[in-house]
Amino acid sequence: MIEIRDLHKYFGALHVLKGIDLEVQKGEVLSVIGASGSGKSTLLYCINGLEVIQQGSVAVDETDVHAKGTDINKLRQKLGMVFQQWNSFPHLTALENVALAPKIVKGKSRAEAREIAAKQLAHVGLGEKLDVYPSALSGGQQQRLAIARALAMEPEYMLFDEATSALDPELVGEVLDTMRLLAEEGMTMICVTHEMGFARDVSDRVAFFHQGVMEEIGPPEQIFGNAKSEHTRKFLANVR
């Protein structure tokens, strides 16, 4: 379980997250929606410790992410993350991209790491592309490669930071399909997204962020059908 309590985050004088309280249960799919700059991506970075926080706490399976004694590198193995830019390692083939972290972080043997990598690449539909360099892959394929790379660490949670925002429209579908597949397999997911269709169809809950505050959270039917907050209704009216 991910537990966020009274989380405050500042970038200099800018107050980006203003007291977030949120719990995400194992097996849940949470979509986070809201305008750019509402703090939703920052929330993900605070969950896996890529950003420091100024107040409050984030706990993953009862381990405090931001406590001094926490082995953050160990904890991050539980938290797979997929970014807006796919960030494939350009000097490695698809297989080596995925095998790198299991090998150096988990200390798997070369053969074992490659086996895991081949399995995860097949999982995201890139089984034919093992020895291809990222430069020869489309954006959608590179993003699926990034998903496979995160999955190879056998995470218990997956964080998606606008995974489809940088893609050409015709490539969005294949990445969303992969995310759907993970959701169906029972992966715990927090998806910051602008894909309202995905948020509505796949999520168990949807959270709407507005200017650093979580304005509203609830099942998709509530958010998309009967939002309580004025801001939520306005935002959804504009994106549709």
Binding site: Y45, N48, L50, N73, K74, R76, Q77, L79, G80, M81, F83, Q84, Q85, N87, F89, P90, H91, L100, A101, I104, V105, K106, Y133, S135, A136, A146, R149, A150, M153
Partner: protein, 220 residues
């Protein structure tokens, strides 16, 4: 007629060997200085990138001095003043010390550029996989940034190799010094400088060819 006593004699095969040996010395002093200088330079580059303010106030000005003062002045100053502080170094060692620092000063900026060439987002992706700071540096930043600035590094290395000719002023018999000795004896500067130039070319050309082929391979 008494034969005239001559001080000059023509360029012979032995002299070619003499130049060849000198070329090996040029290669040796260059390889040593460039290797040491690169290691130290990468360390400085990392300090400049990571240490930000502290490094900017300490390392950067020192490197600027070594980058800005002509190498020949550094060599002569160091060779003549080092003994005053108790360092009795011969011409070769003095040459290595100065060429190493000079290389390090140039490589530091190349290395910093290499680290900067790796997107923050790429490094965050690496860290999000559980890699430590050092694993990220070793497995992500080094190969990606290294390739980005490799051509610049080759430029530095070839430049230092040619600049090693300046160590001749300290009396170390590398290619240029050997040429000067032969010119004094044979009075054939055109021929001998051409041969020396050919040796320099023979030393650098394979390196630049090899570098070009590496770059081509990395570009797929």
């Amino acid at each position: 007629m008494e034969p005239t006593l001559t001080f000059f004699s023509g360029f012979g095969v032995n002299d070619l060997w003499f130049l060849g040996e000198a070329a090996l010395r040029t290669m040796w002093i260059s390889v040593l200085s460039i290797s040491l200088g690169t290691v130290i330079g990468v360390l400085f580059g990392w300090l400049l990138y990571e240490g930000k303010l502290t490094a900017a106030l300490t390392v950067a000005p020192v490197l600027d001095v070594f980058r800005s003062v002509p190498l020949i002045i550094q060599l002569v100053l160091f060779y003549n003043f080092a003994p005053i502080v108790g360092l009795n170094l011969d011409a070769f060692a003095s040459g290595v010390v100065i060429l190493t620092i000079y290389t390090a000063a140039l490589v530091a900026n190349v290395a910093r550029g290499g680290i900067e060439a790796v997107d923050t987002s790429m490094r965050r992706a690496a860290r999000s996989l559980g890699m430590t700071y050092w694993q990220d540096l070793r497995h992500v930043v080094l190969p990606i940034g290294g390739r980005a600035v490799f051509p610049a590094w080759v430029g530095v290395a070839l430049g230092v190799m040619k600049d090693s000719a300046l160590v001749s002023v300290l009396g170390y018999v590398e290619l240029l010094k050997a040429s000067q000795i032969l010119i004094t004896r044979t009075q054939e500067p055109f021929l001998i400088l051409s041969v020396a130039g050919a040796f320099y070319f023979a030393l650098s050309y394979p390196i630049s060819r090899y570098a070009a082929s590496l770059e081509k391979r990395w570009a797929q």
